[in-house]
């Protein structure tokens, strides 16, 4: 029972059809969540008593940061599945996850920097979280660049899976060490607002936005997966049928 489900996941035509049906309601849902969450967060929450209105960027910054870290694990798990079970779909999912994850990490850095200007008075601060995010960005870019460097794409995926797994073992160590490094050098003038409590009226739209960005991430992965599936399976019968039907 469980295994037939697992085998279905490995079948490109099934995954293509299934993701198509899933996206049909997931895409509108994601759009709705994003609109509701951002309008609620940006327009209907009270301003922060210290930061005024500038804090509202957390409704983009925090969800994007959370998802970009989770995305690395998604990529590594997909890589592990493709290494162990030689599953083509997992393979493609991993390679699609790398640029998407890199994009989200970059967005997190940019929004963090925009937030930093009014809050800290400077675009860039070597804060523990920012530094960790930069390292994460380079981990993503490394996987992506390694994939591009191989001509043989089947081997490229394997190499990337190994690298992603090594990165996964390392991420906790990197985060821990960067935290420790920051505590060592922390300048007194800059204090991160984390740890302070957040009012429910600000928290609920934030949670909603996190869910929305997760949904967006799933949509992006599925869309990328479908495009890559069509490309890599372009010689098979089911793809040609699919194209004929369109």
């Amino acid at each position: 029972m469980a295994w037939t489900w697992f085998h279905r996941l490995g079948s490109p035509p099934w995954i293509y059809g299934f993701s198509g049906r899933l996206l049909r309601f997931l895409l509108p849902l994601t759009l709705m969540l994003l609109v509701v969450g951002s309008v609620w967060g940006l327009a209907f929450t009270p301003p922060d008593f210290r930061q005024g209105n500038s804090y509202r960027i957390i409704y983009i910054h925090v969800p994007v940061s959370v998802v970009s870290l989770a995305g690395y694990y998604v990529m590594a798990i997909a890589g592990a599945v493709s290494l162990i079970w030689r599953m083509k779909v997992a393979d493609i999912a991993m390679r699609v996850a790398a640029p998407i994850g890199a994009g989200l990490t970059f967005l997190a850095l940019v929004t963090g920097s925009i937030w930093g200007k009014p809050t800290w008075g400077t675009w860039w601060v070597w804060d523990a979280r920012i530094t960790s995010m930069v390292v994460l960005l380079f981990l993503y870019l490394g996987v992506y660049a390694l994939y591009e460097a191989y001509d043989n794409k089947a081997l490229a995926s394997k190499a990337c899976a190994i690298l992603a797994l090594v990165g996964t073992v390392n991420i906790p160590i990197i985060y821990k060490s960067v935290d420790w490094w920051y505590s060592l050098h922390q300048p007194a003038s800059i204090k991160f607002t984390g740890g302070t409590t957040i009012d429910p009226s600000m928290l609920y739209p934030l949670l909603l936005m996190i869910v929305a960005v997760y949904a967006l991430y799933v949509c992006l992965i599925l869309l990328g997966l479908r495009a890559a599936l069509l490309e890599s399976e372009s010689k098979t019968k089911w793809v040609q049928q699919e194209v004929m039907e369109q």
Binding site: K176, S177, W180
Partner: protein, 223 residues
């Protein structure tokens, strides 16, 4: 089993001594970088001394990065790796041999000379022994990541730039901990806990990295 480890290790070390440039290049590199530091930062002993832990560690990291690029190059080009994989030897222990050989050839000489270089950067004397101790564990981790990176990029035509992109993010903790050990020692704080963390990481890297290296060698041979 570990027969192949000894064989790879002795082969690589002998090869390095046939071509002493392999041993000397990283040291000369570190020497030149150390020369650049006072030229760029100014000769004030206080400034140099304050930055010396970080400078020494960044230099060590770059030296390891530069020297590891050619680790598999010759053996890939002349077919030695093919021989190794078809022989039925344990690729895990062979990989560990390569890792240790890089550490012996590039790591140990650097550790031995680091005291000299550190005093040229006017590092306070209480920092020098901790520097060597942290390099002892840290360069082992650097060699582990480096060997992995070299094995995964050896078949690629333009591996050099890619190698630094792959390795530097992974090596962040080593840099932080290594420089931290020396900083604390100079500040008169205890360092035993940090050193044991570094040693633990080194052992972990020594045990786990060969798994990934072995898989990467197989992939590189198929390209």
């Amino acid at each position: 089993m570990s027969n192949v480890l000894a064989k790879v290790l002795s082969r690589q070390v002998l090869l390095a001594f046939r071509r002493p440039a392999a041993v000397l290049n990283p040291l000369v590199f570190v020497g030149v970088v150390v020369l650049m530091m006072p030229l760029g930062l100014g000769p004030e002993r206080d400034v140099l001394g304050e930055f010396s832990p970080g400078l020494m560690w960044i230099t060590a990291l770059l030296a390891s990065l530069l020297s590891v690029e050619t680790l598999f190059r010759g053996d890939y080009d002349d077919g030695t790796l093919e021989q190794l994989v078809t022989s039925g030897h344990s690729l895990y222990f062979a990989s560990m041999g390569y890792l240790l050989s890089h550490w012996c050839v590039a790591g140990i000489p650097l550790i031995l000379c680091s005291g000299l270089f550190a005093s040229m950067l006017s590092m306070p004397t209480e920092g020098i022994a901790p520097l060597m101790a942290s390099l002892f564990a840290g360069t082992l981790v650097l060699s582990a990541f480096g060997t992995l990176g070299a094995s995964i990029t050896v078949a690629l035509r333009r591996g050099g730039m890619l190698l630094s992109l792959l390795l530097l993010p992974l090596e962040v903790p080593v840099l932080i901990l290594g420089a931290g050990v020396v900083d604390r020692a100079i500040g008169g704080m205890p360092i035993a806990d940090l050193l044991s963390v570094m040693m633990g990481l080194a052992m972990l890297a020594l045990a786990l990295a060969p798994i990934a290296i072995a898989a990467s060698i197989r992939i590189s041979l198929e390209v």
